[in-house]
Symmetry: D2
Subunit: 336 residues, 4 copies
Amino acid sequence: MIIQLTNSITEEQKVNLFERLNKNKFAINEVNTQLEKYLVCIGKSEIDIREIGHLPGIKDVHIVSDSYKLVSKKWKVKDTSIDLGNNVFIGKDVPSIMAGPCSVEGESQIDKIIAHLNQQNIKILRGGVFKPRSSPYAFRGLGIDGLKMMYEKCKPHNIKIITEVMQVSQIEEMLPYVDVFQVGARNSQNFNLLDALGEIDKPVLLKRGVSGTIEELLSSAEYVFSKGNEKLILCERGIRTFETAYRNTFDINAIQVLKEKTHLPVIADPSHGVGIRSFVPKLALSALLSGADGIIYEVHEKPEEALSDGQQTLNFMESALLVEKIKLLYRSFNFN
Amino acid sequence: MIIQLTNSITEEQKVNLFERLNKNKFAINEVNTQLEKYLVCIGKSEIDIREIGHLPGIKDVHIVSDSYKLVSKKWKVKDTSIDLGNNVFIGKDVPSIMAGPCSVEGESQIDKIIAHLNQQNIKILRGGVFKPRSSPYAFRGLGIDGLKMMYEKCKPHNIKIITEVMQVSQIEEMLPYVDVFQVGARNSQNFNLLDALGEIDKPVLLKRGVSGTIEELLSSAEYVFSKGNEKLILCERGIRTFETAYRNTFDINAIQVLKEKTHLPVIADPSHGVGIRSFVPKLALSALLSGADGIIYEVHEKPEEALSDGQQTLNFMESALLVEKIKLLYRSFNFN
Amino acid sequence: MIIQLTNSITEEQKVNLFERLNKNKFAINEVNTQLEKYLVCIGKSEIDIREIGHLPGIKDVHIVSDSYKLVSKKWKVKDTSIDLGNNVFIGKDVPSIMAGPCSVEGESQIDKIIAHLNQQNIKILRGGVFKPRSSPYAFRGLGIDGLKMMYEKCKPHNIKIITEVMQVSQIEEMLPYVDVFQVGARNSQNFNLLDALGEIDKPVLLKRGVSGTIEELLSSAEYVFSKGNEKLILCERGIRTFETAYRNTFDINAIQVLKEKTHLPVIADPSHGVGIRSFVPKLALSALLSGADGIIYEVHEKPEEALSDGQQTLNFMESALLVEKIKLLYRSFNFN
Amino acid sequence: MIIQLTNSITEEQKVNLFERLNKNKFAINEVNTQLEKYLVCIGKSEIDIREIGHLPGIKDVHIVSDSYKLVSKKWKVKDTSIDLGNNVFIGKDVPSIMAGPCSVEGESQIDKIIAHLNQQNIKILRGGVFKPRSSPYAFRGLGIDGLKMMYEKCKPHNIKIITEVMQVSQIEEMLPYVDVFQVGARNSQNFNLLDALGEIDKPVLLKRGVSGTIEELLSSAEYVFSKGNEKLILCERGIRTFETAYRNTFDINAIQVLKEKTHLPVIADPSHGVGIRSFVPKLALSALLSGADGIIYEVHEKPEEALSDGQQTLNFMESALLVEKIKLLYRSFNFN
C-alpha cells in the first residue's frame, strides 16, 4: 500500500497515522522525494483503504500488488516525463534521441560529434568516461577529466550529457557535469550505487542487467525512487541468450511489458541490443514503433577507429539517415 | 561449392564433371529441385572455380563458405518469392498476411473467419488440424476431416491454406488440401519430416525451434531444399530464455540476420512471439519494420472461447485494426 | 485422478463406473498397458475418492495434481525397474552402464567394442545407426543394415542394444533387433513418434530436449505411457544455455528433481552433457552420486578416428578406468 | 606474456627491460602482489621469450594465450592454496567447508551455529551482514555491528569468517573482522569493488555472476590479482537458465573447466546452486567429486524461521549428516 501525504501534514497527524498503521502491523517506509512525500507500507494484514483515505494530511492511497510499488503503473497511471531543462524532455510525445561515442577519446572527437548532433537537432550526448571492461588491461576511459572536457564543449550548445557512473564515490565529482547518470547493465543490481543515486536530484537511467528480468529492473528502479529520486528512466539493451549470431538478444517484448507495468519512460539501446552496425537503424525504429520513448545509440566520426565498440557504432551519415527515418515514422504513423 | 547445371547437360558432360570433382576429393550431392539442377560439393581441397565454370553443361559456380549452401544468400543474391497461385505471393514487395485460429474447431467458426479474411482482403488462412500439445490429454485437433472442411470453404474464395504437418505419414493425405505445409517449432529438427517435405512440390514454412539457433534453422531449410523443394519460407516465433513475463522472447534481431544470410522469405509470428494478445499488433508492426516479409497471427471470433491459445489470439476488431496499421505503415514509410 | 482397474473388471462394472465419472464431467482416458488397466480422468470438479475406491473392479484410486499423471511419483511411490532379460535391469540397486560408439561404423569396430564391453562386464551396447545431423550433407549412419549387423554380433554375448529411432516408419523394421528404443533430444516432443512407441512392448529411453524443461520431459513420458507402454527410462543429457566453454550444460539438479517427481529410472549422458572427453568420467560419477540410476556414454577404440562425436568419446582405457571408479564408488559409499 | 621479476631487480635492470618491451610495442602492466612482482605485457607483436628470459632480474617468462593472464594455469601450473591461519586452508588436499546462516540475526543464533561448527570440526563460518536484496523493502542485514558481534564470538574458537562485501566504502571498516571477503553474484562485474579488493591483503572469494560466463569469472579474478592480491578463491553458485523447477542451474561442468583453466581454488555453493534444501547434500557431494576444493552452504538452527533463504538452508542434523558423508567420500574414494 502506498499513502501519499500532503506537504502540509502536521507531526500530530503523522503520529496518528503511524499508530494506526502499526496496529495493523505494517512495516512503514517513509519516502521523501524531490516532489512528494509517501509512505510505502508492507504487510500481510488487509486494511480498508477508505478508513485511511479521508484522514487529514493524506492526499491519496492505493493498494499496489506488485513487489515494486512507487514505480508501478498501478500507483501512478499517467506516464512520467523527465525535464532536463532548456526544453529537453525524456518521456514526452516526441522521441528522445541520445547519441554519441562509446568512449570519450579527446577534444577533436567531441567537437565533431557536437557538430553532428547540432546538425541533426539531437539534444543529448552520450559518452563514456568511466568504462566497465571485462579485462583489467583494456582501455578504461578518460575519467573525470574527460567528463569536464565534454561538459565545457556541450554547455555553449545547451547539449545535455548522459554518462555512466560506476561507483558511489564518483557521484559527487561528476554531479556538476552530468545531466543524466547512467547505471550500466553490470551494475543493474549494485544496490549501494542505486541507494546513493536515490539521494541526488539528477535523473538516472537504469539499464537492464545482462540477464536481468523485467521485474528485477523495476525493483532496481524502486531502490532509487524509494531513496528519494523520482527522476528515473529505464533502458532495454538486450539480454544474454544461447544465440551467438549477434551480441545480445534485444528483447522487443520488454518495451511493451515495461510500458504497461510502469509509468517511467522506457528507452531502447539498439547499439548494444544487436551489436552489429548495419542492424542498428531498423532495430531503433522497431523499438520506437513498439512504444519506446526514445533511443540511445553509438555514433563516431570513424567507427572503425573507435577505441571501443566500433563494430556497433554508426558513422555520421548512417546516424543522419536514422534521424530522418525516425522523423518520417513519427510524422506518418499514428502511434495510438 | 555449388555448381548449377544447365537442364540440357548431357550424360557425358556430367560424367566428365564428376571425374574432375572426384579427383579433388569432393563429396558430391546431386540436387534436382522443381526448378533447377545443382551439385553441392563438400570438400576440403581448394579448387579454382574458373577451371570448372567454363565447362559445357554448367550454368553457374560459386564457393559458399556457410555450412548451409543452397539457401545461402552467398549463392543466390536475389530474394526468393513464393507463388501460391491466384496472384498470392510470399516474399514480394507487399507484406504477406496469414491469419486464422490456432485450431480449426468447426464449420461455423471457419465461415466467420473466412468472412473476416475477405473483409480484410487477407488471402491466406492459417488453422491447425493436427495440434502438437505438451500433454497427451489435451485437445489434439480435428485431423484430416477438419482440413477437408477448411478446404471446401476456402476454395470458392481463392483463400490459401497454411497448416501444420506433424509427421511423414500425414503428407500424402494432406497434399490436395494444403497450400503451405507448416513445420512447427518442436519439429524444427525432425529431419525425416524435412527430407519428406523436400520431395513434394508444395511450399513449406519452417518455424525456428524453441531454442534453435539461426544457423540451425538455415540448416533445416537446407534439408528440404537439398531434397528437391526450393519453395521455402522461414518463420521467427520467439525463443526460450530466462524471462517469464511473457510466453517467448521474440528475437527481433533474427529478422535482420536471416534477411542478410538467406534469400528465402522470412515471416514473423507475433502471436507465439509474445503470447499476450494486447502486445501482438505492435510486435507485428515492429517485425515488418525490421524487414519481415509477412506475418502469421492468430485470430478468432471469440478468443476467450477458443479451444487453444486464446490468450494470444486477436478478435476480429483487433485484427482489422492491425491490418489498417500495416497498410498505413507501408503507405507512409519508405522501407529501403 | 487415476483409477487402476482390476484385470477381472466386468463390462457392467465398467459401464457403471463410466456413468458415475461422466456425471462428474470427467474426461476419461482409458489406458491399457502391457501390465495394467487404468483410467486417467481429467476434470475440474472435485470428487471424494472414497466414493469410488470401494466399487467392484477397482484396484486403486489417487488424485494426482501434476499435469503428468501415470509417470508421477504421486501415483506410484515405488521406483520402477525395467527388465531387459538375461538378468539385465535398468533402475535396480546397481548402476546401469550403457556404452558404445556414437555411430556404428563397421564389423571390426563392433567386434572390438563388444570385446571391451565383455571385459568390463558392461551388458548394454549403445550405437547409432540412424543419426540426426544438423547438416543434410553429414554422415547419417549405416541404417537398418548396421543395426542387423550389430544385433548378430551382440546376440551370442547376451549384450543388449540401445539405439536411436528417428521416425514412426522405422519402428517395425527395428523392433526385432532392439532392446531399448532411444528417442533423441531433437525428437523429445515428436508426439507422433511418442504415440507410436507407446504401442509397442519394448523399453523406451527418452532424452530431455535441448531446451526442454523437466516438466516437458515428464509430459513426453506420459505420452508413451498413456498409449500403453510402461517401460520407460528418462535421460538427462545437458541443456542449452549461454555458456560456450563446453557443448551442453549438464543439469545435475535435474537428476534429483526427476527422482523426486517420477518413479521412472533416470539415466545420465555425460558424453553429451559436457562434450569434452577429459571431463566425462567425473561428470558420470557426479551424476551417479546425485542419484542417477545409470549412465550412457560414448566409447571408441580410437576416438580421434570416429566418424562423429570423437571429441567427447572415451577410449578403452579411459572407459575401463571409469568402470573401476564406479565400482569403487558403489562399494564404498553409502547412497541412502 | 607474463614476466616474473626477482625481488632484487635493480632500477637499471628494470629500465633496460622496459625499453626492450616498449620497442616491441607491448603495453606493460606492473603488478606487485603480496608475494611477487610481475609484468603483464599485452601486445600483438611476437617476441622470442628466450631473448628475455636470461636477462638479469627476471625469474620466469611465459606466453599466456588466454585473455586472463595471472590467474591462468598456463602461467602457474601448481594449484594455489590459501592460508587463513591457525592451520585453516582453502585449496589443500582436504575439502574446505564453510557453513552458516544466510543472514546474521543475533547473538543467540551465532552461539548455536558456532557450537554446531565446533561439533562438526568446521573451521569457517559464513554469515551475511550486508545483504543484497532485490527489493529495497526487504531485510538488509545487521551491518557492521552484526559483523563485530560475529567476530567476538568466533575469535575464541579460532573460527574464520567469510562474509559479503557490497561496496568499496565498507572494506576498511570490515577489514579487522573478516578472514575472507566474499563478492556476491550481483557484484561479479563491479570492477571498482574488484580493484579495491586487489589492494588489500585478505583473501577474496568471487562468486560467478548469475549469467556470467566462466571466462568472465576468470577476468574478474584477474582484476583483483592484477591490483596486487593473489589470495583468490572462485565459487560456482548456479546460473540462470530457462528451467524453473529450482532456483538456479548448478553448472557442474564449470567445476572441471575452472580447475583446468586456473590455479585458483574452486568452491561450490550448493545452497544457491539448487535452492531446495533436500537437494543440497547430494549436490555438495557431486561438486566435490567433480573436483571442487570445498563447499559453502547455508545452515540454521531452525531454517523455517530464518530471515532469508530458509527454503535452501540445512538444519543442524542435515548439516552433520552432510559432513559425515563428505568424510566418507574422501576416506574411501580415490580422487586422482
